[in-house]
C-alpha cells in the first residue's frame, strides 16, 4: 500500500469519526426558550347522566330471555366548557368531552399556550354544561372550577395550571429556581 493510500485511508477514517461525533452530539432547539408557556393540564372525573325509559312489551319480547330488563338507560359524561383569558384576551374557548369511544372516561385537559414573558391577569373557567331532564348518577364532582389571579410568566419556564383533587380547585405550579 502506498503512502498516499495510507494517508487517504487515514483521512477517510478520521472524517468518518468526526462525522460520527458531530451527528452524535448535534444540537437542536426542541422549544424556543425566549418566551413563556402557560400549560393547562388536568384530569377530572366527570358527572355521568343517564336518560332512562321503559321498554314496551313488544320490545321486551324481541329480546332474548336473559337480556330482558324493564328499563334501558343511555348515559354519558357531561362535557365541560373551558375558557381561558389572559389580560382580557380570550385564548381558549372550547368544549371538553370525556375521553373514550363511549365518552365514559374522565375528562382530560391538555393545552400549551405560549406567551411573552410578563405579568398577566389570568382567568380560567372550567364549567360543566347543564343538562335538563337527565338523572345525575354521581354529583360529588366539581361543577365549576375557576381561577382569577395575577400570574408572572417567566422566560423559558412553563407555568402549569392543574387540578388539586384534595382541595377541589385549580392550582398553579411553576419550575423551582435553579
Amino acid at each position: 500500500m502506498t503512502r498516499a493510500r495510507r494517508v487517504g485511508g487515514g483521512v477517510l477514517a478520521l472524517g468518518g469519526i468526526v462525522a460520527l461525533a458531530l451527528l452524535s452530539a448535534g444540537s437542536w432547539t426542541a422549544e424556543e426558550s425566549d418566551h413563556a408557556v402557560l400549560r393547562l393540564a388536568w384530569r377530572v372525573r366527570g358527572v355521568r347522566v343517564e336518560s332512562c325509559r321503559a321498554l314496551t312489551p313488544d320490545e321486551l319480547a324481541a329480546l332474548p330471555a336473559h337480556m330482558r330488563q324493564d328499563t334501558v338507560c343511555v348515559g354519558q359524561v357531561l362535557p365541560y366548557h373551558l375558557t381561558v383569558n389572559l389580560d382580557g384576551v380570550t385564548l381558549v374557548t372550547d368544549s371538553i368531552r370525556a375521553a373514550g369511544a363511549r365518552s365514559d372516561r374522565p375528562l382530560f385537559v391538555s393545552r400549551s399556550l405560549p406567551a411573552p414573558a410578563g405579568t398577566y391577569r389570568l382567568q380560567i373557567i372550567f364549567e360543566r354544561d347543564a343538562t335538563e331532564g337527565a338523572v345525575t348518577v354521581s354529583s360529588d364532582r366539581p361543577a365549576r372550577l375557576a381561577v382569577d389571579t395575577t400570574v408572572v410568566l417567566e422566560r423559558g419556564t412553563i407555568t402549569l395550571v392543574t387540578y388539586d383533587p384534595d382541595g377541589r380547585r385549580l392550582v398553579l405550579r411553576r419550575a423551582t429556581p435553579d
Binding site: 460520527l20 452530539a25 391538555s110
Partner: protein, 511 residues
C-alpha cells in the same frame, strides 16, 4: 440505480484499504460486533444507574465512576455505529438484489432488527433523563396517545402534574435490557437461512473501529444535557441524530400525520425489493440429476443457503442423494461448481451446459484471438461483463464465478488459452461464498478440483468489484506479462473431459 453509488463507494474503500479490510463489505458483521461492545459497556454502566435519581446517577457516572465517562461514550458511539452499519448492510442487500425470494426472511427480519435497535436506543436516551430524554419521551408519548392502547393519555406523565414515578424508569430500564435479548433472537432468525453466517468482522476491522471509537470517547465524551424538567422549556440541547432524527418532524406535525408517514415509509422500505426486482429474470432453483449424483455431499457442504440436504436413495441402494429445497434455493449455482460429475445446478447453468458453451466459444475463436480468456462474474468484474472484449481478450460472463466448473477452465487451457477469472472480492460475493470456493477448487484441491494435468501458471483468479474496471485491466496486463515468460503449449483439438466420477447406475429392483 442504487448499485452505482455503492460501486463507487466500494471502489474508493477498496483502493484505500484493500478489499480484505474494506469496512463496507463487513457492515453486517460490524453491527453485530458493535452490539457486543454495547452489551459489555452497558453491563458496566448498569451497576451505577439509579432508578430513583436517573440523571444524577448518570452525572455520577460521568464524574466519579472509574472510566465511567469514557465507557458511557463508547456505549453511545458504538450504538451510533451499529445504526450506520445496519443501514449500510441493508442498502447493499437491496442494491445487489439480494432481498427477495428465499432471502425475504433476512430482509424483513433485518429491518425489524433496525427498528428494535432504534427503539432500544430511544429507551437508552430516556434513561438518561436529560432534556433530550424528556423530549424523546414526550414525543414518543404523543405518538402513542393517538393509538387506542391506553386508558389514559400517557403524555400526562411528562407534563409536570406529578413527579414521574420510579416505576416508569424501571419499565424503561426493563425494556432497555430486554430488547437486546429480542435482538439476539431476531439475529438468529435473520441468519437462519444461511450456512456459516459471519457474525464478526476481521480482527483488523474490529480492533480498528473499536480503537477509533475509544479514541473518540477519550477526546469527545458523550454529552449530558441539563436535567429534564417538565416545567422548563427545552431550548437548545444536545441531540444524537442517529436515534433522534425523527423528532423534529414528529414535533412539527400532528401525530396522525407522523403515523401515516411511518406507515407509508415502512411499507415502501419493506416492500422495495419486490417492486424493484428485475421482472425479466426469475431464476430457476437448482435441480439434481439423481443418476449422476454420487452422494459425495460436496454440494450439500458448499451450499451457502442450506438449500441442499442429503436423503437416502431409493430402495436397493444404501447411499445418499442430494435434494434441493426450491423454497430455500436462491439459484446462486454454487452447487454447479461443486459437483465433479456435473449432476446439479440451475437449469441451463450446469457443468454440462458450461461445457457446451465453452466448446462453442472455442470453435468461434481461433487460438490467436484468445491467448487469454477472461471469465468474469456478470455482477462484479469491474462492470465489464457486457463488454465482450477487454484489451483484446474475449470475456466470457458467468452468473457467479462460484458457478464455474473447473472442467470449463481445463477445456480452455487445453485448447491453448490462458484463463484469467475475475470474481467479486470474496466478502462481496453476491452469493456469499462463490469466490472462496472457486479459489479452493482451483488451487487447493477442494472437491470438484481443477485436475492436476492443468498448468496452474496459465490460470489466475483475481478480484474486482463492479466499480473497478481498472483492476481488471491491470490484472490482465500483469497476467500477460507473466505468460510471456512461459512456453506456449500446443492447443489440443479433440479435448475429452472426464467427469472423474462414474455415474450411479439406474436403480435396480430388489425382489
Amino acid at each position: 440505480m442504487a448499485l452505482r453509488p455503492l460501486g463507487l463507494l466500494d471502489a474508493l474503500c477498496n483502493r484505500l484499504y484493500g478489499w480484505k479490510h474494506n469496512p463496507l463489505y463487513h457492515a453486517g458483521a460490524l453491527a453485530v460486533a458493535m452490539l457486543a461492545v454495547i452489551l459489555l459497556t452497558g453491563l458496566y454502566l448498569i451497576f451505577f444507574y439509579k432508578l430513583s435519581a436517573p440523571w444524577e446517577s448518570i452525572q455520577r457516572i460521568e464524574e466519579q465512576v472509574l472510566l465511567g465517562r469514557w465507557i458511557r461514550a463508547l456505549h453511545r458511539y458504538a450504538s451510533d455505529v451499529a445504526v450506520v452499519a445496519v443501514a449500510v448492510h441493508a442498502f447493499r442487500m437491496f442494491a445487489q438484489d439480494r432481498a427477495w425470494g428465499p432471502r425475504a426472511l433476512a430482509w424483513v427480519s433485518g429491518l425489524l432488527l433496525l427498528l428494535v435497535v432504534l427503539v432500544c436506543g430511544w429507551t437508552g436516551y430516556v434513561m438518561v433523563w436529560d432534556v433530550q430524554g424528556l423530549v424523546l419521551a414526550r414525543e414518543g408519548a404523543r405518538l402513542l396517545d393517538v393509538l387506542p392502547l391506553f386508558s389514559e393519555p400517557i403524555g400526562r406523565a411528562f407534563g409536570g402534574e406529578r413527579a414521574l414515578p420510579s416505576a416508569f424508569f424501571f419499565l424503561n430500564l426493563f425494556l432497555h435490557v430486554a430488547l437486546p435479548i429480542g435482538i439476539g433472537l431476531m439475529l438468529w432468525v435473520h441468519t437462519a437461512r444461511v450456512a456459516r453466517p459471519v457474525l464478526l468482522p476481521p480482527r483488523s476491522i474490529l480492533w480498528t473501529v473499536t480503537g477509533l471509537l475509544l479514541a473518540l470517547s477519550l477526546a469527545v465524551p458523550a454529552a449530558l444535557g441539563p436535567a429534564a424538567n417538565p416545567l422548563r422549556l427545552a431550548g437548545r440541547a444536545p441531540y444524537d441524530w442517529f436515534f433522534s432524527f425523527w423528532v423534529p418532524f414528529a414535533a412539527a406535525v400532528p401525530a396522525g400525520i407522523s403515523w401515516t408517514v411511518v406507515l407509508v415509509v415502512s411499507a415502501i422500505v419493506f416492500s422495495a425489493p419486490w417492486w424493484t426486482r428485475p421482472r425479466a429474470r426469475r431464476p430457476e432453483p437448482s435441480v439434481v440429476d439423481e443418476r449422476l449424483c454420487t452422494g459425495c455431499r460436496q454440494c450439500y457442504l458448499d451450499c451457502p443457503y442450506e438449500a441442499i440436504s442429503m436423503l437416502p436413495r431409493d430402495v436397493g441402494q444404501n447411499d445418499e442423494v442430494a435434494h434441493v429445497d426450491p423454497a430455500l434455493c436462491v439459484s446462486c449455482g454454487i452447487c454447479t461448481g461443486s459437483c465433479a460429475p456435473m449432476g446439479v445446478g440451475p437449469a441451463g447453468r450446469t457443468g454440462r451446459d458450461q461445457l457446451v458453451a465453452v466448446r462453442a466459444f472455442v470453435a468461434r475463436h481461433p487460438v490467436a484471438a484468445r491467448d487469454v480468456v477472461l471469465v468474469g462474474c456478470a455482477r462484479g468484474a469491474g462492470g465489464l461483463a457486457a463488454a465482450g472484449v477487454v484489451e483484446g481478450a474475449p470475456l466470457v460472463p458467468i452468473d457467479c464465478v462460484g458457478n464455474l466448473h473447473t472442467s470449463m477452465v481445463e477445456y480452455l487451457v487445453r485448447a491453448g488459452s490462458a484463463v484469467l477469472i475475475v470474481g467479486c472480492p470474496p466478502r462481496d460475493c453476491w452469493n456469499r461464498e462463490g469466490t472462496k470456493w472457486l479459489e479452493q477448487r482451483l488451487f487447493h484441491d477442494r472437491e470438484a478440483e481443477l485436475q492436476p494435468r492443468v498448468d496452474r501458471r496459465r490460470v489466475r483468479l483475481t478480484h474486482a468489484a463492479h466499480g473497478e474496471p481498472r483492476l481488471v485491466r491491470a490484472a490482465l496486463a500483469t497476467f500477460r506479462a507473466d505468460l510471456a515468460g512461459l512456453e506456449t503449449p500446443d492447443a489440443e483439438v479433440h479435448i475429452a473431459i472426464d467427469t472423474t466420477c462414474d455415474p450411479v447406475p439406474d436403480p435396480v429392483e430388489v425382489p
